[in-house]
């Protein structure tokens, strides 16, 4: 028998970490997302792969309101950010988005702040946590990403890989339940991607729920619990890494894999 109890009672334990239904998004006449569904439980890591312009980044950006969707639903731990195209009121929407941290392809660190200040800015300004409380937490996060000695450096004094690890730590400082990664290694030299991927792997081992838009097939294979192949605004195929990489059914996926493995 289906559970007919009120959502509030059932929400916390049984609701998936994030549930996305029939997500649609257009820019003018260009339909970028045609109808996307995805459900993730706590600790799952989903890799979103696919050709450029296929809607991967837009999809990710819709999840934390960097883009507004046209229709569909997004619910985090049972709370709707948007339900059938209607957004929650601003205060609630902010609370839901606060559960998601994001890392960008271009890092987007705040250049006028030191690494430590980058980590402490949001907790201080947004959550009003005093510096004395957040500072040890920030320093611990920095040592977790292997950059404890860079606390007082400015972002431009760091390599790209170090900057991205700071960006990860900065997002973690807000204590999110879900981490969104938008091509986190795409603007890095090959020798620097490894350190960022290692940090992300550590995060996955800590049971963080992650959605990763990536071109790193190795990462998708080894770390992801689920792989989504997106093209033309549609999830063409999804499944475990084994299913996607070893036994692809969709034609687009087959040719995509062939082209990148060459």
């Amino acid at each position: 028998m289906p559970n007919m109890k009120s959502k509030k009672g059932a929400g916390i334990m049984s609701a998936p970490m994030i549930k996305i239904e029939k997500l649609k998004k257009s820019f003018g006449d260009l339909v970028v997302l045609k109808s996307i569904d995805l459900e993730l439980n706590k600790g799952e890591v989903v890799a979103v792969i696919g050709p450029s312009g296929g809607g991967k980044s837009t999809f990710l950006r819709c999840l934390n309101r960097l883009e507004t969707v046209d229709s569909g639903s997004i619910a985090v731990e049972g709370n709707y950010l948007v339900r059938d195209g209607v957004y929650a009121e601003d205060k609630q929407a902010k609370e839901i988005c606060a559960k998601m941290g994001m890392c960008f392809q271009q890092f987007n660190l705040f250049p006028h702040m030191t690494v430590l200040q980058n980590l402490m800015a949001a907790p201080k300004v947004v959550k009003h946590i005093p510096e004395s409380t957040i500072k040890p937490i920030a320093l611990e996060l920095l040592s977790k990403v292997g950059l404890a000695d860079k606390a007082n450096a400015y972002p431009n004094q760091l390599s790209g890989g170090q900057q991205q690890r700071v960006a990860i730590a900065r997002a973690l400082a807000m204590n999110p339940d879900i981490m969104l990664f938008d091509e986190p290694t795409s603007s890095l030299d090959p020798e620097l991607t490894g350190e960022v991927l290692k940090t992300m792997r550590d995060l996955a081992e800590d049971n963080m729920t992650m959605i990763v838009v990536t071109h790193e097939m190795g990462f998708a294979k080894e770390v992801a619990t689920k792989v989504i192949f997106m093209a033309d605004g549609v999830v063409q195929e999804h499944g475990t890494p084994q299913q996607i990489f070893d036994n692809p059914h969709n034609e687009r996926l087959q040719s995509f894999l062939q082209s990148i493995l060459k």
Partner: protein, 220 residues
């Protein structure tokens, strides 16, 4: 050969010229202190998504930058009384200068704000910052570094523009010099005034160099 400038002559003239300097510095300092915050305020309005507000500021900036400052001075002092607003010469001068310079600062700040990459807003938003918090903690601090050179330019211009208050018969540095020249047919006060102006712009230049150095500690 006679000395070009007699030392005792110069000392006699320095007194009234220093008094003129006082007026000049007063107009300069008060204008700067009031026009910069007003300019920032106008810049925020200019980039606002509220169309009527943005348009109103655009119109304001056009009028203020599109008519001579001297005309604005004359208007505030001589034309406003016909609308029932009567101001002292100092108040009229300050009002005209602040309103005029705020428009220039507003456009400098607007350009500075708009030069900050979109990614900074997105990162701030993804961390939960509101728009106002993003402006205050992320965008404006970065803007300051970028606008220092044009703001320095504008500030040096302001030092010299203060000489326009002579049209309101105020005894600023230049007018004090001219009074002596006309009375004594001696050009020395012009040279002394030039030295005073150079001294003031030197201070302004050094202050801005210092600020640029301080902001050079980070790069973008």
């Amino acid at each position: 050969m006679e000395l070009l400038f007699e030392m005792s002559e110069i000392m006699r003239m320095v007194g009234p010229l220093l008094e003129g300097c006082q007026v000049t510095v007063e107009i300069f300092a008060i204008t700067l202190v009031l026009a910069i915050p007003l300019g920032l305020f106008l810049a925020m309005g200019r980039i606002s998504t509220i169309k009527p507000l943005s348009k109103a500021v655009e119109l304001y900036n056009w009028v203020m930058r599109g008519t001579p400052l001297m005309l604005q001075l004359l208007f505030v002092y001589f034309a406003l009384p016909t609308f029932g607003v009567r101001l002292s010469d100092v108040s009229a001068a300050l009002l005209a200068f602040v309103l005029n310079y705020a428009a220039y600062f507003a456009e400098i700040f607007r350009a500075g704000i708009q030069s900050i990459p979109k990614g900074q807003y997105e990162a701030a938003k993804s961390l939960g910052f509101t728009y106002a918090e993003t402006m205050r903690h992320i965008i404006v601090p970065q803007m300051i570094k970028r606008v220092l050179p044009p703001v320095g330019n504008e500030t040096i211009t302001l030092v010299k523009d203060t000489s326009l208050v002579y049209v309101l018969a105020m005894n600023d540095l230049l007018r004090a010099a001219r009074t002596i020249v006309q009375r004594e047919f001696d050009m020395t006060p012009f040279f002394i005034a030039a030295v005073f102006y150079l001294a003031m712009t030197f201070v302004v230049t050094r202050v801005f160099s210092y600020l640029e150095c301080r902001y050079a500690k980070y790069e973008e």
